[in-house]
């Protein structure tokens, strides 16, 4: 995973709750066997509506997505975070995220930040009014702030995710260092559990 650098960028306000991963990336694009190149299919169906915010050129360079509650619900497809990341987003801010989606983002270095609906409403209103206004997301300090410093909020992040992001660590590599503990666990594991191969 690449190291997470602090983000200074403008926000795309997607003011909808319960956005499911079928909308983020429709199933027909899941047939690809590559991990890259999903950005052009992001919100593929909604993008056909000329008024959809992704078509608004003022937000074309946004690196922060402001989303509604339960963002990323539904299917476990990691293609959804891949598409968001490939499109150019580095940080997603929402009042809540779906559980599987949250884990998938953490695995690829796409930062999810939970703020209150009130704070998000403020940031949404601000970026609707001033599309080029920037926010600063600092993972070290765990803060989201407006560039002028008039708004600053702390966010929670679990220490493992923070360390992995800041140091660009490979989660599988870290687990493999625990080989001793895994082997020890396997010694105690019930012999009665099923095996798919005799």
């Amino acid at each position: 995973m690449r190291k997470f650098e602090n983000v200074i960028g403008n926000c795309l306000p997607l003011n909808r709750a319960d956005v499911d991963t079928d909308q983020i990336i429709p199933a027909k694009y899941l047939k690809r066997i590559e991990r890259t190149g999903f950005g052009e299919f992001l919100f593929d169906t909604w993008k056909k509506d000329a008024d959809f915010i992704l078509n608004d050129s003022r937000y074309a360079s946004a690196s922060v997505l402001l989303a509604g509650s339960n963002f990323g619900c539904g299917s476990s497809r990691e293609h959804a975070p891949w598409a968001l990341e490939d499109y150019g987003f580095r940080v997603l801010i929402a009042p809540s995220f779906a559980d599987i989606f949250l884990n998938n983002c953490a695995k690829i270095g796409l930062l999810t930040v939970v703020l209150s609906q009130e704070d998000i409403d403020y940031l949404v209103a601000r970026s609707e009014e001033l599309p080029q206004s920037e926010v600063v997301v600092n993972l070290d300090d765990q803060t989201v702030a407006t560039a002028d410093g008039s708004f600053i909020r702390h966010f929670d992040v679990d220490p493992t995710t923070k360390k992995n992001f800041l140091e660009g660590l490979d989660s599988i590599g870290l687990t493999l260092e625990l080989e001793g503990s895994i082997s020890e666990f396997e010694q105690k594991r019930s012999e009665l559990y099923p095996k798919t191969i005799d």
Binding site: I33, C73, I197
Partner: protein
Amino acid sequence: MQDSQTIIEKIWNNHLVQSTDGGSDLLYIDLHLVHEVTSPQAFESMTLSGRKVRRPELTIATVDHNVPTVGRDQPWEDPLSVQQVETLRQNCKEFGIPLFDVDDSRQGIVHVIGPEQGLTQPGLTIVCGDSHTSTHGALGALAFGIGTSEVEHVLATQTLPQTRQKTMAVEVNGELLPGVGAKDVILNIINMIGVGGGVGYIIEYQGEVIRDLSMAGRMTVCNMTIEAGARAGLIAPDDVTFSFLEGRPYVPKGSDWEKSLDDWRALTTDPGAHFDQTFSLKGEDIEPCVTWGTNPAQSVPVSGSIPDPMDATTTAERDQIQRSLTYMDLLPGTAIEDIALDRIFIGSCTNSRIEDLRDAAQVVQGKTVSKNIRAMVVPGSGLVKNQAEEEGLDRIFTDAGFEWRDAGCSMCLGMNPDILFPGERCASTSNRNFEGRQGPGGRTHLVSPPMAAAAALAGHFVDIRTLS
């Protein structure tokens, strides 16, 4: 450790390899189910990093999402589907993972074949790169969906770092009235909790109604747990579970079976154990249900009508209802029974087991599909299909005008040629009514198998309680 534990905590603690600083636990995974769509990038990455599958014997693969449900022995029309299935074949060969391929009668939807083969057992941790992995919780397993990076993590290490979830008890007491089934139970639960209400939780389903459900019914309930936002939902194993499992291919035999039963019987929530959240509802209050919107919480009883956005309590809620109605092309106040349909889909990991097909066939027997309707039945596995044919269910369906297909995910998510055309309206036994889920522009109403069958005959929704 506290004295009284929930079944969720018992299974979690039984699989704890290590607790790491920062609140994430390393869990051992007992069974990893793999399919063609969410695995290719994981295998590719394994190859690039030179890693091996740690425990191929705890892993099994099948093809389900992409596969055509007719004409499989002919060349497939979609080269990308062919490539994805072929990639899985190569990966299984290279990494030594057993595969139930299209020519194997055990092939089917991954969440149907796990329990069917007896691979899904009480007390196991089970993962799959598919959100409906929660299905396996019906047998008392802790089972949840994961993404492709986590698939790779499990392939390489047989473990997964996970944050401990909160616990929720959902209790359904009393009994179900005639015409009401497991699908109606879970649609009511999702309606009560909301699509995001279960985020951060693992659910245990409890109560007389849950106990009285068959294993197929319990799988329907646990399957749609994710539609309430919870990754996993389970039911403590009991005699229904044990008699379902006994004699299945991968289940212990002889004295090992007896030993397993002793272990499984201990998998209950202790009296007085604490849940972070509790919901309850009465079985008698549940009616046959139909979703009207674009998420699974947007449902009403079949006797009801389309809600009015103006009755919403907040602007955000009103906008969401209006958006759903616009997409679904429905007007407030329309009676559910007046909604005309174009397509019927009986299938998916929610409702494609033999019991589901029997329930639907009972409604269909001796009758004919409405002339404006195209209806299809897609069994959950090759073995379900064979069993249904032995019982003559295929003839009941085909005589009535239904198409009888081979096993796969099919029109639940439209990754194979089985899709809705733009504007078509479908009564579906699947799990998601999201915009475009069954095909771009398609409109999905989620219902139980008997409700789907009755709608096929009438051409519109019917309250099955009024059928003779």
